[in-house]
């Protein structure tokens, strides 16, 4: 086993060299579904950052007393609790956005990124680095999704943050609103980033 990861290093890796979306290719379905609007993407991202950071922190705090056989059950329980709390807050304070995000907030529970960070990092590392790793994963995810949304919303709906920005003669590209448009945008982004030499999965030293 190599030297323990510092929190700062873990955080920074999550943003670029081991980014959950374009390096590990995780969290894809929500990446496709919510990115047709920037505001929704932002809210979704914040919810995920909250759930992931607190989830990894909690898993790490409990790592020494969690029996190995129920490791995953415990992780799901913790993640589910935080995600439900996010949903409750959204329903209470941002009901319109909550309605637009629909099932995808609840689906954060099944998002591979969170379970991945809990299992691959938080279960073996100290609380503060785990928190930073989780927060970094969430932020890395959110940044990638924002880039995609910043292209999909203007092209697909003619608006940015629900403010019309395209000139009157612009015909919205319906393709950008539906899932295949998200696929194309994501694939294009991964291609561009990988050809700039960014890490492929497995490049991160364990």
């Amino acid at each position: 086993m190599s030297a323990p990861m510092t929190g700062r290093k873990a955080f920074l890796q999550m943003l670029w060299s081991d980014n959950p979306v374009f390096c590990q290719i995780l969290g894809i379905c929500s990446a496709l579904a919510v990115t047709n609007r920037v505001v929704n993407t932002l809210v979704m991202g914040l919810g995920l950052i909250f759930a992931t950071a607190l989830g990894t922190l909690t898993v790490s705090l409990l790592r020494d007393i969690t029996p190995r056989r129920v490791r995953m059950m415990t992780q799901i329980l913790i993640i589910a609790a935080y995600v439900i709390i996010v949903k409750l807050f959204l329903d209470a304070f941002l009901p319109d956005i909550s309605k637009q995000l629909g099932a995808y907030v609840g689906l954060i529970i099944t998002n591979c990124i969170i379970m991945g960070r809990c299992e691959a990092f938080a279960a073996q590392n100290k609380p503060w680095p785990s928190f930073l790793d989780g927060a970094g994963a969430g932020i890395g995810y959110t940044l990638v999704l924002l880039v995609i949304a910043l292209v999909r919303e203007p092209l697909g709906m003619g608006t940015l943050c629900n403010v019309p920005i395209m000139p009157a003669w612009w015909t919205p590209w319906n393709l950008m609103i539906i899932a295949p448009g998200g696929f194309f945008m994501l694939a294009t982004l991964v291609w561009i980033i990988r050809s700039r030499g960014a890490a492929a999965p497995g490049a991160r030293a364990s």
């Binding site: 056989r69 415990t74 329980l77 609790a81 609103i177």
Partner: protein
């Protein structure tokens, strides 16, 4: 055996702790969430009548006030009828049914004298964001105000959903949403069923 007990005990404690955490947050926010639901319902009814514009920025309290001033409810639950107090021939009813992905609940308001739709609004549905969920958008909903429902077509249908861009409002037609065919079809059926039931109750042919 000892280990097994430890595992079970651990899971029990975890469940109680985290379940308790969620339950506590829920208890604090329950009232607010309920109020949001009520306001969403009122807003939909007011929007269907046209009393409230789609992008109206009024807050929750004002909406409740406006609703209590303008609308009278007759009947309860899904059979409820909403009457505009100032013009009782303008009435609204719930649109309830199964859309493509799950249950849908909305409101449709009509003018019984002119036999035209006043508007449509949605309270709850689980259609795909960006696709079926676009029924919420002004572009789709704005097809309904002023749309006649007077003529009953050969198959009993009043409002027909047709391919996007080809709708003729004189023929009582509505544009479907591109990429959301199933949601559009399901909505057409829901509207047909609820509109027919409402007209029967109102004593219209």
């Amino acid at each position: 055996m000892r280990e097994r007990l430890h595992v079970i005990g651990f899971m029990l404690v975890m469940t109680i702790v985290f379940g308790g955490m969620v339950a506590t947050v829920n208890a604090f926010l329950k009232e607010r969430i309920e109020r949001n639901r009520k306001v969403a319902s009122y807003r939909a009814i007011l929007e269907a009548f046209g009393t409230l514009k789609v992008d109206d920025e009024r807050g929750a309290i004002e909406i409740v006030e406006l609703y209590e001033k303008s609308v009278r409810q007759e009947g309860v639950d899904t059979d409820a009828l909403f009457v505009l107090s100032s013009e009782p021939r303008k009435q609204a009813f719930y649109l309830v049914g199964d859309a493509y992905w799950g249950p849908l609940k909305g409101v449709m308001a009509v003018d019984l004298d002119t036999k035209k739709v006043l508007g449509i609004a949605f309270i709850d549905h689980t259609e795909t964001p960006g696709l079926g969920a676009r029924i919420d958008e002004p572009e789709f909903r704005n097809q309904f105000p002023g749309l006649s429902y007077a003529k009953k077509k050969t198959d009993g249908e009043r409002l027909t959903f047709v391919a996007s861009g080809t709708a003729n409002s004189d023929e009582q037609q509505v544009d479907m949403i591109t990429g959301a065919t199933e949601t559009s079809r399901a909505l057409a059926k829901i509207i047909q069923r609820n509109l027919t039931a409402f007209l029967e109750k109102a004593g219209v042919e």
